[in-house]
Subunit: 305 residues, 2 copies
Amino acid sequence: MSRYVVSLGGNALGNDAEEQKNLLKFVAKPIVELIVAGHEVVIVHGNGPQVGMINLAFTESTFTPHMPFPECGAMSQGYIGFHLQNAIRNELERHAVTQTVGALVTQVEVDEHDPAFNDASKPIGAFYTKEQADRIIKEKGYVMKEDAGRGWRRVVPSPLPVDVIEKAMVKSLLDAGHVVICAGGGGVPVIRKEGRLEGVAAVIDKDYASAKIAELVEADYLIILTAVEHVYVNFNKPDQKALERVASSDFEPYIEAGEFAKGSMYPKIRACIGFLEKTDKTCVISSLAKASEAFRLETGTIITK
Amino acid sequence: MSRYVVSLGGNALGNDAEEQKNLLKFVAKPIVELIVAGHEVVIVHGNGPQVGMINLAFTESTFTPHMPFPECGAMSQGYIGFHLQNAIRNELERHAVTQTVGALVTQVEVDEHDPAFNDASKPIGAFYTKEQADRIIKEKGYVMKEDAGRGWRRVVPSPLPVDVIEKAMVKSLLDAGHVVICAGGGGVPVIRKEGRLEGVAAVIDKDYASAKIAELVEADYLIILTAVEHVYVNFNKPDQKALERVASSDFEPYIEAGEFAKGSMYPKIRACIGFLEKTDKTCVISSLAKASEAFRLETGTIITK
């Protein structure tokens, strides 16, 4: 019996409730195989498109009050958590397994002195014209940036996770044999201010959050599921090469050569390297479609110390 | 050391995120007193105004997809859960108590043959004109009713809770010494259909849900906090009389005489009676303002078998 932390991308969850529900039926299958095989499982999911949608609904609607970004994130944990625990519970039922699975609303502490707070970079929510953006900057004090010719968007910082406030609950649930969904969307970011935890408009990378969870619950495996089966060098070029079994340190020359896209593969690799600095366990980066094989270490990029 | 289930009204949580955050600072105080005194605490909260707000944002917004009602309820569990666990955690920190508190996304099973499904009665979301209502009935198949001269609203059924899908997690968390927020808004209602749990557009009364939780976790006390300090007979009349210590059966003649308002005190009393049919424990109905005293059985309507 091993302890797995599985990180799922928010992009794999579709664009509306109906799509999300249907896609999660498939996501549930390999996860339930893992549970049925007797392993302990924690699931961390992304929330990019979903928190964007919730944020947009409240921004657009004229009769509802202003909804701050951390609160939108908490809503997305409820929304995705419900569908995920429902899908996994239903799939467990098909296997006549009585285990319980549930999502824990999770606050993840970040450092208010994290340099990311000086360099907001993560676009969220709707696109605006230059004029609208100027007005929003003036009215609300948001940082707005032009996004690849598509218009202006609010950007928020993406600080590193320092601690998971509800970590003891995650551990108790695992120890009692339950399946835990937590730190959805990387967790609701909170900073410590005069002894109080306060929500802050930021996005914690969900792969860094899953590595932090893996460290805190002393996981044996950190499995990051994405759209591609392996980490590649020379990605999308004629000499593209899949990395199969690598040591953490093997990545350094590739990183220096700028092999891995910043908003995509880079944070996944960094998350694995960070986890492996603290343990001698195993990480796998592979595709959601090959999750079963990845859990059994039969495919994916398998990374050790 | 006793085990408490505390039921909080959604109306006490304000009308926007800022209000909710500030109000919960005060709600956290008596709850933390209870924790500091060494008791085990489960909190169930309402979500009427909050789920209405979320539903309205998605209905009004033109660029976001349709959001079904159970999913809006799950979002409200994340939204209120985050604020509640943040407020309690901060108050615990002031007392240098390290206990963990967190909200569990909760599905509550209802019976698809519950007679409530033939009599939708719980108004949700926005008000519409007769013409708009007719179009919605035709397009979406919703049940719409005229609401006290204020316009037409969608109504959904309010079935009784049969089971709490994540009950084993609630128990494990309590046994491990954590403070649990669960079944927010009465829980996300699910029915069992061909072996699968499926979300259903309904509202489970949060007091009935809290009584179900109290039964399942074998609570010693079920405390329902509302706007008034006692249950009254002849409420708001010159001969109004506060009920102080009553036996469950004492309510019957009052109920028959129609003393308790259907959407307000009646379900609270019914929830207590239901819980006391299954245990010989104690229920208290009192006001949020007098929560400390109610927890110590110094005020409120104290109900035993």
